[in-house]
C-alpha cells in the first residue's frame, strides 16, 4: 500500500476518532491520527499527509488555527481539509471556510458520504498537482526559452549587424517590440564606396519575423561587399526568402544605393511606406513609393528587380520608415499616418533635424498606448564624397598567397550583357592577387567606370550630356533600359597583371563592338571640365590610374593601374 493516499485524522474525541479512522482506512487510505490541535500540527510535519480531517473544536489549539498553519506550511501544494463538525450556524461555517476548509463532514459519520467527499477532493488534488507540475514545467521551459533566445539573439546580432549605420550622415531609430526584431536595417559600402542600405519589415514581429532576417543579412552583406548591384541582391534575397519563409510570410523592403561621387540614389521599394526625399535647396519633397511587391512573394521568374535612380544634391535627405511608424496608434486608436509624417518633414524649419522631429512626434503620438509593431526610422543625408570617409580595407592581413602574374580575357555577349553584372566576378578574380586587395575599392571603381562607358556609350550610344539636366537624367535611364532590351555586340575585358614585390601593375583593356568615337576631340581638356556629369567617368579614371589611352576607332580603352606599397 505504498501508493495509498495519506490522511491525517485529528479529533480529541476518542470514539469519534476511532470510528473515523476505521472508515477512512477501510476506503483504502493510509491513516495517521492526532488527539488535539498541537498534535495535529506535529503529525502534519512528520507524516506529510495529503489530506486532513480536522475536528473544529479541540482543546488547546482549535481546528481553525490548525487549518491556517497547515495551509500556509503546505505552500503551493494543495492539501484538502475536511472539517469534522456538526456546526449548523452560518457564522461558524464561514470561519471554517476562512480557515481554509475545503469541505465539511457532520455527525453521525456516514461512510458513503465520506467516501464521496474523499474521492472528490482527491480528484481536485490530482488536478491541482497536475496543474502545478505543468506550471512548473512551463516556468522551466520559459526560462530555457529566454536563455535560448538570448543566445540566438547574440548570433542574430552578429549576422544581422548594423554595418555602416554609425556613419555621421546616417541617423536611425530601431525600436523592436520583442527580443527579436521583425524590422531589419542593414547597411554597408560596396567596393566602390557606394553606401547600400536595406530597410526590411518582415510579417509579424518577434522570433518568427526575425528568422528571415539572418539569410537576408548574409546575402546583403556578402553580395554588397563583392560589388553586386541592387538588382542582383534583390533577386537573390527574393529567391532565398521565397524558399525559406512559410506561406503568407514575406518581407516589405526598401533598398537604396547612395553614390556620393555622382550624387545619385538608386532605389527599389517593395511594400514599404514611400521614402521621403527632402531636397533642402529646392524646398521640395519627392516620394520614392513602392512599385513592387514585397520580397518572398513571387518566384524569381516573376520577380521584378528593376530599380530607379534619382539625383540628390549635398545636404538632401532621404527618410525611410517601416509601417510601425505610420500605423503607430495614440490612446484613442488614431494612426500616426503618412500625411502627418509628410507634414512634419515639410514643416520642420531648415537647420532643425527632421529625423529628431519625427522621432519625438511619433513617441508623443503613441503616449502611453501599447505598441503593436516594431518601429524603424532612418535618415540618410547626401554628403560630399570626401565626407563619407574611406573604406576599411577588407582582408589586408592575408597570407600573401595568390596569383601574381596572370592574364585574363573575359568577353560578354548580348545575353550576358542584358542579364548579368560582370563586376563582382571580375573583382573576385582580381582580388586573388593579395597585393591588389589593398586597392579593392579603387579597382572596383575603375572596373565599374570602364564597364559602364563601354556598355552605355560604346554599345548603346547613349549621350551622357543628357545627365546634366534633371529631366534628362531620368530620360537617360529610360533610354538605357530601352537600349538594353535591344542590345547586340560584345564587351571584352583583357587583364594582365604583373607583381614585383610591393610594386606592380594591372593593365585593363576593354573593347566593345560599337562604332567608337572621336576621342581626339571629345576628350580635350575643355570639355572635360565642362559639366559636373559627362566626362566625369573619364576624369575619375584618370585620377585613379597611371595612364588611360583610347585606341583604335575609340572602341578600345586601356588603363594601367599601378601601385607601390611601402610598409
Amino acid at each position: 500500500m505504498n501508493d495509498a493516499i495519506r490522511v491525517l485524522v485529528a479529533d480529541d474525541n476518542d470514539m469519534d476518532r476511532m470510528l473515523l479512522s476505521t472508515i477512512v482506512r477501510k476506503e483504502g487510505y493510509e491513516v495517521e491520527v492526532a488527539v488535539d490541535g498541537l498534535d495535529a500540527l506535529k503529525k502534519f510535519e512528520e507524516y506529510e499527509p495529503q489530506m486532513v480531517l480536522l475536528d473544529a473544536l479541540m482543546p488547546g489549539m482549535d481546528g481553525f488555527e490548525v487549518a491556517h498553519h497547515i495551509k500556509s506550511s503546505a505552500g503551493d501544494a494543495f492539501v484538502p481539509i475536511i472539517f469534522l463538525t456538526s456546526l449548523t450556524e452560518a457564522g461558524e461555517l464561514a470561519r471554517c471556510v476562512d480557515a481554509g476548509g475545503d469541505d465539511f463532514l457532520s455527525k453521525p459519520y456516514n461512510r458513503i458520504i465520506l467516501k464521496a467527499k474523499l474521492e472528490a477532493l482527491e480528484r481536485v488534488r490530482m488536478l491541482h498537482s497536475t496543474m502545478q507540475s505543468q506550471r512548473d514545467e512551463i516556468t522551466r521551459h520559459h526560462a530555457h526559452l529566454v536563455q535560448e533566445q538570448q543566445a540566438a539573439k547574440a548570433v542574430f546580432d552578429n549576422v544581422a549587424h548594423t554595418g555602416s549605420l554609425n556613419a555621421p550622415f546616417i541617423k536611425h531609430l530601431i525600436s523592436p517590440l520583442a527580443v527579436f526584431n521583425g524590422d531589419v536595417l542593414l547597411s554597408t559600402r560596396n567596393p566602390a564606396g557606394d553606401l547600400y542600405l536595406l530597410l526590411g519589415d518582415f510579417t509579424g514581429h518577434g522570433l518568427t519575423a526575425a528568422i528571415g532576417a539572418m539569410p537576408l543579412a548574409e546575402i546583403f552583406y556578402g553580395m554588397a561587399n563583392k560589388g553586386f548591384g541592387l538588382g542582383d541582391i534583390l533577386r537573390e534575397s527574393n529567391r532565398k526568402l521565397r524558399t525559406i519563409l512559410p506561406q503568407g510570410y514575406f518581407c516589405c523592403a526598401m533598398i537604396v544605393s547612395f553614390n556620393f561621387n555622382k550624387g545619385t540614389v538608386e532605389y527599389w521599394n517593395g511594400g514599404l511606406p514611400p521614402g521621403v526625399l527632402l531636397r533642402g535647396a529646392f524646398d521640395e519633397l519627392a516620394h520614392l513609393s513602392s512599385t513592387h511587391l514585397p520580397l518572398g512573394i513571387f518566384d524569381n521568374d516573376r520577380f521584378d528587380d528593376s530599380t530607379k535612380i534619382v539625383e540628390m544634391s549635398q545636404g538632401d535627405k532621404l527618410l525611410m520608415c517601416t509601417d510601425g511608424v505610420i500605423e503607430a496608434r495614440d490612446e484613442a486608436g488614431e494612426q500616426f499616418g503618412f500625411d502627418r509624417f509628410d507634414q512634419i518633414v515639410q514643416s520642420t524649419p531648415g537647420g532643425d533635424s527632421v529625423f529628431d522631429a519625427l522621432k519625438s512626434r511619433v513617441y508623443e503620438h503613441m503616449g502611453q498606448s501599447g505598441r503593436e509593431d516594431d518601429i524603424t526610422l532612418v535618415e540618410i543625408t547626401m554628403v560630399a564624397e570626401h565626407e563619407v570617409g574611406s573604406l576599411e580595407p577588407d582582408g589586408v592581413e592575408d597570407s600573401g598567397i595568390g596569383s601574381e602574374d596572370w592574364k585574363l580575357v573575359y568577353e560578354l555577349g548580348p545575353r550576358s550583357l542584358r542579364a548579368s553584372n560582370p563586376l563582382p566576378l571580375l573583382q573576385h578574380v582580381v582580388m586573388e592577387a593579395p597585393q591588389l586587395r589593398r586597392h579593392a575599392g579603387e579597382i572596383y571603381t575603375v572596373l565599374a567606370e570602364l564597364y559602364s562607358n563601354s556598355l552605355e556609350h560604346g554599345l548603346m550610344g547613349l549621350d551622357s550630356s543628357l545627365k546634366s539636366s534633371a529631366s534628362g537624367f531620368a530620360e537617360y535611364y529610360q533610354a538605357r533600359a530601352r537600349a538594353l532590351d535591344n542590345l547586340e555586340g560584345f564587351v571584352r575585358f583583357e587583364f594582365a597583371c604583373r607583381i614585383d614585390g610591393a610594386a606592380g601593375d594591372l593593365v585593363i583593356n576593354v573593347v566593345d563592338s560599337g562604332p567608337g568615337f572621336d576621342f581626339a576631340t571629345r576628350l580635350d581638356e575643355k570639355s572635360m571640365h565642362d559639366t559636373a556629369y559627362h566626362g566625369r567617368g573619364v576624369r575619375l579614371l584618370k585620377s585613379l590610374c597611371q595612364s588611360l589611352e583610347y585606341k583604335g576607332k575609340g572602341n578600345e580603352v586601356e588603363v594601367v593601374f599601378a601601385w607601390c606599397d611601402v610598409e
Partner: protein, 114 residues
C-alpha cells in the same frame, strides 16, 4: 428491543468495526461518562463555556453511536449554555443524565452480549 439507540446504525457500525466493535463501545462508555461528569462540574462552577464544549463533544459521539435522542438533548444543552439561558439548564442536565443512563445501559448490554 432498543429504544434509545438507532438499531440500523448500530448494525452498520458492527459491520464496519468488526473485531473492534467491542472496543468502540467501551470507548464510548468511558468517554461519555467522563464528558457528562465534566459537564456537570462545569455547571456547578458556572463555567458555561466549558459546559458548552462538553455538551458539544457528547452530542457528537452520541450521534455517531446512534443515540439520537441523547444527541439532540446535548445539542439543546450546548446551545442553552452558549446563549447563557441559565434557568433551563438544570432541567436539561437532568434530562441528559437520565437519557445517558438509558443509553449506557443499552450499550453495556450490547457489549456484554458480544
Amino acid at each position: 428491543m432498543n429504544e434509545h439507540l438507532n438499531s440500523e446504525l448500530i448494525h452498520e457500525l458492527k459491520e464496519l468495526m468488526e473485531d473492534e466493535f467491542s472496543l468502540l463501545l467501551e470507548t464510548y462508555l468511558q468517554e461519555s461518562e467522563k464528558q457528562f461528569t465534566n459537564a456537570r462540574s462545569a455547571w456547578e462552577e458556572q463555567d458555561l463555556d466549558a459546559l458548552m464544549r462538553f455538551a458539544h463533544s457528547l452530542k457528537g459521539s452520541s450521534s455517531n453511536i446512534g443515540a439520537e435522542r441523547l444527541s439532540s438533548l446535548c445539542g439543546r444543552l450546548e446551545s442553552g449554555a452558549k446563549q447563557s439561558e441559565r434557568e433551563g439548564l438544570p432541567d436539561l442536565l437532568a434530562e441528559v443524565a437520565a437519557e445517558l443512563a438509558d443509553v449506557r445501559n443499552e450499550v453495556q448490554a450490547m457489549h456484554s452480549g458480544l
